[in-house]
C-alpha cells in the first residue's frame, strides 16, 4: 500500500499509449538510422559499402527506450508536478532578487579570467569564442527575443560586417577603430535593405526567406571573387592597435610595439589577451545598449509587436518601421562582431558564414529563453563549451547538441531562463496602495 502511494501506478491504457508512441518513434528512427548510421562509404571507392547493423540496432533501441521513458515520465511525474513549482523555477525565484549582483560578479570574473594562473592561450581563446557568441546572441535577441521576428539568416550580417571591415581596412587603409563603426553601419544597412521586402511575412515564412537571404549572401561572397577573393577569401588582416601600440614582435619602422612601450618581453599571448578584452568590451556594449533600448519607446514597441501586431497597429505603431529598426539594430551588432571576428582570425572566407552558424546563434537565444540576456550567456557557455568538452567523442557532438536541445524543449519550452523584467514600473505606488474595497 505504502509503495503504491509513493509511486502511483500507471494504468494499462497509459502504458499502451506510451508503447505505441515509442514504437512509432522507433520506426522513424529505423528509417533514418538505416542510411545515416547503418551504411558507411568505404575509404577505397572500389570496395563495397560497409553495412553496420549494430549501429542501427543501438539507434533504434535508444529512441524506443527514450521515447517510452519520456511518455511514462510525463504520465507519472508530470501531473503531480503541475501543482508544485518545478525545482529549477524555485531555485531561480530564489536568486532572482540577486540577479544584478550575480551579473556584475560574473562580468568581473570574466574580466579577470586572463590574469588567472590556469588561463593559458587556449583558455583565453575559448573565452573569446564564447564572448563572440554571447554578443551575437544578444544581437539576435533584439530581433528574435524582443521583436519576435524569427531570423534564420543572422549570419549574413555577421558576414557583411566581417567583409566590409576587411575591405575597408585593405582598400581604404582605415584602422580598426574607424572601420569598426562603418562595418556595423554596413551590416545595419543590409539589415534594413533585406528587411524591407520580407517584413510583411510572418513566423515560418519570414524564417524561410531569411534563411534564403543568408545563403545568398554567402554564395555572392563565393562568386564575387574580384572583390571577396572567392572561396579562398582574404588573408593577412592586421590586428588592431591599442592606441597606436602594435602587437608584433618587431614593429614596422615608426611604430611602437606594446611590449616595448611597457618594457616587458614580447609574448604572443599579449595579443590574445588584448583581443579578449576587445570582444568583452564589444559584448558589454551590446548588452548595455540592449538593456537601455528595451526601456525606450522603440524597445517597448518591439515587444508590443511581438505580442500582438494587430493591437499594436491599432495604437498607432507603424509595424514596418518598428520591425525594420529591430532588424537593422540587430544586424548592426552582428556587423561589429563580424569585424572583430575578421581581425581576430586574420583571414576570412565564406565557409565561416554557413547556415549552421545562424542555427547555433538562434539556438543560443531560444535555449537561453527568448529575450533573456542572462539566458544567452548560459546557453552560449553550454553550446560552445559542451562540444569542446566532448571533443574526445567528436563523432557524437551533434548527437549531444541535439539531445540537449530536445531536453530543454521538453522540460523548459520557454528556455532556460525565461524571466522577463518589466521595462517600467510604478513600483512603490502600486505596492503601497491596496485595491479600494
Amino acid at each position: 500500500m505504502a509503495l503504491a502511494r509513493a509511486a502511483p501506478t500507471v494504468s494499462s491504457g497509459v502504458l499502451r499509449a506510451a508503447f505505441g508512441e515509442a514504437l512509432v518513434a522507433a520506426g522513424i528512427a529505423f528509417m533514418l538510422a538505416l542510411p545515416l548510421a547503418g551504411l558507411r562509404l568505404p575509404i577505397n571507392p572500389m570496395d563495397s559499402v560497409i553495412f553496420r547493423p549494430w549501429w542501427v540496432v543501438v539507434a533504434v533501441a535508444t529512441v524506443f527506450l527514450g521515447r517510452l521513458g519520456l511518455a511514462l515520465w510525463r504520465a507519472r511525474v508530470a501531473p503531480s508536478r503541475r501543482n508544485g513549482v518545478p525545482l529549477l523555477d524555485r531555485a531561480l525565484a530564489y536568486i532572482l532578487p540577486w540577479r544584478r549582483g550575480i551579473f556584475v560578479a560574473f562580468v568581473l570574473l570574466v574580466a579577470i579570467l586572463p590574469l588567472m594562473p590556469f588561463a593559458d592561450r587556449r583558455v583565453i581563446d575559448l573565452g573569446a569564442v564564447v564572448l563572440i557568441y554571447v554578443m551575437l546572441g544578444w544581437g539576435l535577441n533584439i530581433v528574435v527575443g524582443l521583436a519576435g521576428l524569427l531570423d534564420l539568416g543572422y549570419v549574413a550580417f555577421y558576414a557583411v560586417g566581417a567583409y566590409s571591415y576587411t575591405l575597408l581596412i585593405i582598400h581604404l587603409d582605415l584602422n580598426f577603430w574607424a572601420a569598426l563603426p562603418l562595418a556595423g553601419a554596413f551590416a545595419a544597412l543590409f539589415g534594413v535593405l533585406l528587411g524591407f521586402p520580407v517584413l510583411r511575412l510572418r513566423g515560418d515564412y519570414l524564417a524561410i526567406v531569411t534563411l534564403g537571404f543568408g545563403e545568398m549572401i554567402r554564395i555572392i561572397l563565393i562568386n564575387w571573387s574580384s572583390l571577396t577573393g572567392g572561396s579562398e577569401g582574404i588573408t593577412s588582416i592586421p590586428t588592431p592597435t591599442l592606441f597606436g601600440l602594435t602587437f608584433t614582435a618587431v614593429p614596422a619602422p615608426g611604430e611602437t610595439a606594446f611590449h616595448q612601450f611597457f618594457g616587458i618581453p614580447f609574448a604572443g599571448v599579449h595579443r590574445i589577451i588584448f583581443l579578449y578584452y576587445l570582444i568583452l568590451a564589444l559584448a558589454l556594449l551590446t548588452h548595455v545598449f540592449s538593456m537601455r533600448i528595451r526601456r525606450l519607446p522603440v524597445g517597448r514597441a518591439w515587444e508590443a509587436l511581438r505580442e500582438d501586431e494587430i493591437a499594436a497597429r491599432a495604437l498607432g505603431l507603424n509595424p514596418v518601421m518598428v520591425k525594420l529598426s529591430a532588424f537593422g539594430l540587430g544586424a548592426m551588432f552582428a556587423g561589429f562582431a563580424g569585424a572583430f571576428f575578421a581581425t581576430r582570425q586574420g583571414f576570412i572566407n565564406p565557409s565561416s558564414f554557413t547556415f549552421i552558424e545562424s542555427a547555433i546563434i538562434l539556438a543560443i537565444v531560444v535555449l537561453g529563453g527568448m529575450g533573456s540576456q542572462m539566458g544567452v550567456i548560459l546557453a552560449a557557455l553550454l553550446l560552445v563549451l559542451l562540444p569542446e568538452v566532448a571533443r574526445d567523442f567528436a563523432e557524437f557532438r551533434m548527437l549531444l547538441f541535439g539531445g540537449a536541445m530536445v531536453a530543454v524543449m521538453v522540460w523548459r519550452p520557454r528556455g532556460l531562463l525565461a524571466h522577463r523584467e518589466p521595462t517600467a514600473t510604478l513600483g512603490d505606488l502600486s505596492r503601497g496602495r491596496e485595491p479600494a474595497p
Binding site: F289, V298, A304, D308, L315, L429
Partner: protein, 291 residues
C-alpha cells in the same frame, strides 16, 4: 432668427461620417451601403444580431479592411482625414481613432503599465528624438516619459487598478482586462473611441461600472464614442443615438426611445415569423428598460 439659433439645442459637429460604405468578402456582402454619422461628445451605438457586420464596420473605420465602396471621413479639429485611404497605424496615430477588440487584445506578457505606455508610443518616440535623446537619457525625454507615466497612472487610478500596474496583463481577470483595454485606448488621446462589445463577459456590477466609465469619458473628454454592444440595457441607457444593422444594411437609426419600439428592429432580433412578440430576450432592444 438670431435668437432662435441660440435656443436650438446645440448639435455637436459631425466627427465621423460614413457614407455608402460596402464591404464584400467573396460572395458575402458583410456591409451593404451603410451611411451614418457619429458626433463628438455623443455615444453612437451600433447594434444588430450576430453576424450583422458590426465588427466589419469597425475594421473598415480603423483601417484593417479597405472598404469595397464608400467613404469614411473624420474631422479632427480643423483637419479632415479620409479614413478609407489611410493605413491602420496612421488612423490611430494621426486621425486619433482608438479601438478595443471583441476578443481582448492586450499585450499579454507585458505589464499593465507597459501596455498603457505603448499606447503613447507616437509622442514618446518624438520626445526621444527617435531613440537618440532616449539613449542619452536627455532631460526632455525623461520629462516626457514622466508625463506618460502619470497619464497612465491617472487612468489606473480612475479605474481603481493602480495595484495591478506592474502585473502581466495575461494573468489578470477578464473583467480587469476589458477595463485596461479601454484605458489603453484612451491613453492614445483619441477623438473617437470605438468599443467592440466592451460588456461581453462582464457581470452586472462590472457592466454598471462600465456604463459609468463610458459616460464619464463622453462627458469629460468630449470625444465621440462608437459602441458595439449586445447588452441592450447598457445600450439603451447610455446611447445618444443608435444605428441598427441587419445583414450589413442599416434598418433603423434614431434615439433609444425610437429604436426600442421600432417594429423592423424587433423583427430583426426576434426573427421574421413572430413580428409582434414581446421583447423578452436580453438581446432584444426592449429589454433592460430601467434606465
Amino acid at each position: 432668427m438670431t435668437v432662435a439659433v441660440a435656443d436650438v439645442p446645440a448639435v455637436p459637429p459631425d466627427l465621423l461620417t460614413v457614407a455608402h460604405l460596402s464591404m464584400r468578402f467573396g460572395g458575402l456582402l458583410a456591409v451593404d451601403d451603410l451611411s451614418f454619422v457619429a458626433r463628438a461628445g455623443q455615444i453612437t451605438a451600433l447594434i444588430g444580431p450576430n453576424g450583422a457586420g458590426k465588427t466589419t464596420v469597425f475594421n473598415c473605420i480603423t483601417g484593417f479592411y479597405r472598404p469595397t465602396a464608400g467613404h469614411i471621413a473624420l474631422e479632427r479639429g480643423d483637419r479632415s482625414f479620409d479614413l478609407d485611404q489611410l493605413s491602420g497605424h496612421r488612423i490611430a496615430r494621426d486621425a486619433g481613432v482608438a479601438r478595443t477588440f471583441q476578443n481582448i487584445r492586450l499585450f499579454p506578457r507585458m505589464t499593465v503599465l507597459e501596455n498603457l505606455l505603448v499606447a503613447q508610443h507616437a509622442k514618446l518616440m518624438r520626445a526621444s528624438a527617435f531613440s537618440l535623446a532616449g539613449l542619452l537619457g536627455l532631460k526632455g525625454f525623461r520629462e516626457a516619459e514622466a508625463r506618460a507615466m502619470s497619464l497612465a497612472e491617472d487612468w489606473l487610478t480612475r479605474l481603481g487598478l493602480v495595484h495591478v500596474a506592474d502585473r502581466e496583463c495575461g494573468t489578470l481577470a477578464y473583467g480587469i482586462q476589458r477595463k485596461i483595454e479601454i484605458a489603453r485606448a484612451m491613453c492614445t488621446e483619441p477623438c473617437l473611441l470605438c468599443l467592440d462589445e466592451p460588456a461581453a463577459g462582464l457581470n452586472p456590477r462590472e457592466t454598471a461600472e462600465l456604463s459609468r466609465l463610458i459616460t464619464s469619458i463622453r462627458g469629460e473628454f468630449g470625444i465621440g464614442v462608437l459602441l458595439i454592444e449586445h447588452d441592450m440595457g447598457l445600450v439603451m441607457g447610455i446611447s445618444d443615438r443608435i444605428v441598427v444593422l441587419d445583414h450589413g444594411a442599416c434598418i433603423a437609426e434614431g434615439k433609444p426611445a425610437e429604436i426600442r419600439n421600432n417594429p423592423a428592429v424587433i423583427r430583426a432580433y426576434l426573427g421574421e415569423e413572430d413580428p409582434r412578440a414581446g421583447p423578452g430576450s436580453t438581446d432584444a432592444p426592449g429589454a433592460g428598460d430601467g434606465a
